[in-house]
């Protein structure tokens, strides 16, 4: 029963949606019926178009995430550990953080055109901040006494980093990762919709030109599925890595 419960509402919506289309209350030009969407899904899958676009979009998303997340993690650690480094860079970063990164799209198109760099740059920039902020916060919130204990027992600075600071900051880093994943898809969708010649966003915009509403809806659903999968993977990692933490332990 517990496993069924979360599916009742989506299934209900689907049924109502199908019924509304069936009885002509919902025009196919506004919103195609679920069966029409399923047909469109089957069509683009068979032609191979969908897989190509999913592949390129996923690659962009994770490459951008790796770049932005990597830099955010490194800077968060550095600024968490060194007051000097924080003094030097944090206020600048906070200033940049307050610019919505999507506002840079016109500039990014001028710089990179509609090439891969543009998408990677935007995704990396969007992902950078949640990871940076949460890593920094995580390092800062590591119990001082645990650090002291490590030193008292003769741990090297390197061991203190990997065995005390990093695991101590990990719960907070995971918060950043999950938040970053959300921003990653959001940024990619916008970037691909505005300027791309491949990817799911492009597929949607292309379909719009030909008034293929069903394909547009398929694209949107694909984004939702990809986002959900990424989040589930992050949660699984969280539960595995943070099994020691009662907050994350499986209930």
């Amino acid at each position: 029963m517990k496993r069924v419960l979360p599916w009742i509402v989506p299934a209900g919506i689907l049924l109502v949606w199908q019924a509304l289309s069936q009885f002509g209350l919902l025009s196919g030009q506004v919103m195609p019926a679920p069966t029409a969407v399923a047909e469109a899904f089957w069509r683009v899958t068979r032609s191979g178009e969908l897989w190509r676009d999913i592949e390129i979009s996923t690659w962009r998303a994770f490459a951008g995430f790796a770049i932005g997340g990597g830099i955010g993690f490194a800077l968060g650690m550095l600024n968490g550990l060194s007051r000097l480094s924080e003094k030097l860079t944090d206020s600048t970063l906070q200033m940049v953080r307050n610019i919505p990164h999507l506002a840079l799209i016109p500039l990014v198109i001028l710089w990179f055109g509609i090439g891969e760099e543009a998408k990677l740059f935007l995704v990396a920039l969007g992902v950078f901040f949640p990871i940076y902020v949460n890593t920094l916060h995580g390092v800062r919130s590591v119990d001082r006494q645990l650090l002291e204990m490590g030193r008292a027992y003769g741990m090297s600075e390197r061991a203190i980093f990997w065995r005390v600071v990093f695991p101590g900051a990990l719960p907070s880093i995971f918060v950043g990762v999950r938040y970053g994943l959300g921003i990653m898809w959001l940024t990619l969708i916008v970037a691909e919709t505005i300027s791309a010649s491949s990817g799911i966003g492009f597929m949607a915009m292309n379909a719009r030109e030909f008034m293929m509403v069903d394909v547009v809806v398929v694209s949107i659903l694909i984004y939702a599925a990809l986002g959900k999968i990424a989040d589930s993977v992050a949660r699984l990692l969280e539960r595995t890595c943070l099994a020691w933490n009662p907050v994350y332990a499986e209930v």
């Binding site: 204990m149 008292a152 027992y153 003769g154 090297s156 005390v164 695991p167 020691w244 933490n245």
Partner: protein, 262 residues
């Protein structure tokens, strides 16, 4: 001064010399003196208690002996060598167990050996230490699954696994309930008797100091200076109802400025 029970097993304990140590903290540009010309010698194998009013600087003195802080003036030596930083031969047990929440009980106890690269060869000592504190069955548990007393026992095992020459106890039983506290006082004393390390115990519990130590050092209000150095020349295990302890208790409470009529 040292009772002969201790003198028999001084082989592994370190001696401690505190030479004319004064210390100040800088707080918001103001100087706060915490220790005032403290000199003290602890013989190998002794268990010495530091008693004093809350916030008098007794913990600071202990942290200095641990090498976690450097005195503003004066020096501290362990076995004749000046203490300049922390060392695994002098381990601290704090009021909080300060266990790593992401490590199992066993991995927490392994900490010191692991840090020194000795875990592979001397891993059996971890099991020994766990047995010594009666937690063998909890080796794979995580700290959040333990009670306060159990967590503090893990903290003790983590200290013991390093074969410390000097065990520094900073109110280690302060947060435990009174029944667990009494049990652990007895356990600590019997461990100390069996292993022979030197121990310095910071406490604000007069009974605890009297029950556990060879000597009780009473400190004054901040900046702390030594007010009295009282040998407790009674054999272990001691009995809490011992009239001699009651006399000493009255005297110490008097030194601390407390009325001991009750």
């Amino acid at each position: 001064m040292v009772s002969n029970i201790v003198a028999q097993q001084t082989a592994v304990g370190a001696s401690v010399d505190v030479n004319d140590v004064s210390h100040r903290f800088d707080l918001d540009g103001k100087t706060l003196p915490v220790l005032n010309r403290v000199s003290l010698r602890i013989e190998p194998g002794e268990l010495v208690s530091l008693l004093g009013p809350s916030g008098c600087g007794k913990s600071t003195l202990l942290r200095m002996v641990a090498g976690l802080e450097t005195p503003t003036v004066g020096t501290i030596q362990a076995d004749g060598a000046r203490i300049t930083g922390p060392d695994p031969s002098r381990v601290v047990m704090f009021q909080d167990p300060t266990l790593y929440p992401w490590r199992t009980v066993k991995a927490n106890v392994s900490l010191g050996l692991e840090a020194r690269g000795l875990l592979r060869r001397q891993g059996h000592r971890v099991d020994e230490a766990l047995r010594l504190v009666g937690l063998s069955q909890f080796a794979t548990a995580y700290p959040h699954q333990l009670s306060g007393g159990m967590a503090q026992r893990v903290s003790l095992a983590r200290a013991l696994v390093n074969d410390p020459k000097l065990l520094l106890l900073d109110e280690p039983l302060g947060k435990l309930d009174s029944m667990t506290r009494i049990t652990m006082q007895q356990e600590l004393v019997s461990l100390w008797q069996r292993t022979g390390f030197t121990a310095l115990l910071v406490t604000h519990d007069v009974e605890e100091a009297l029950f556990m130590s060879n000597r009780v050092i009473v400190l004054s209000d901040r900046p702390a200076a030594i007010k009295a150095d009282i040998p407790i020349d009674l054999p272990f295990p001691r009995h809490r109802g011992d009239p001699r302890l009651a006399d000493l208790r009255r005297r110490i409470l008097g030194l601390l400025g407390l009325d001991a009529d009750w």
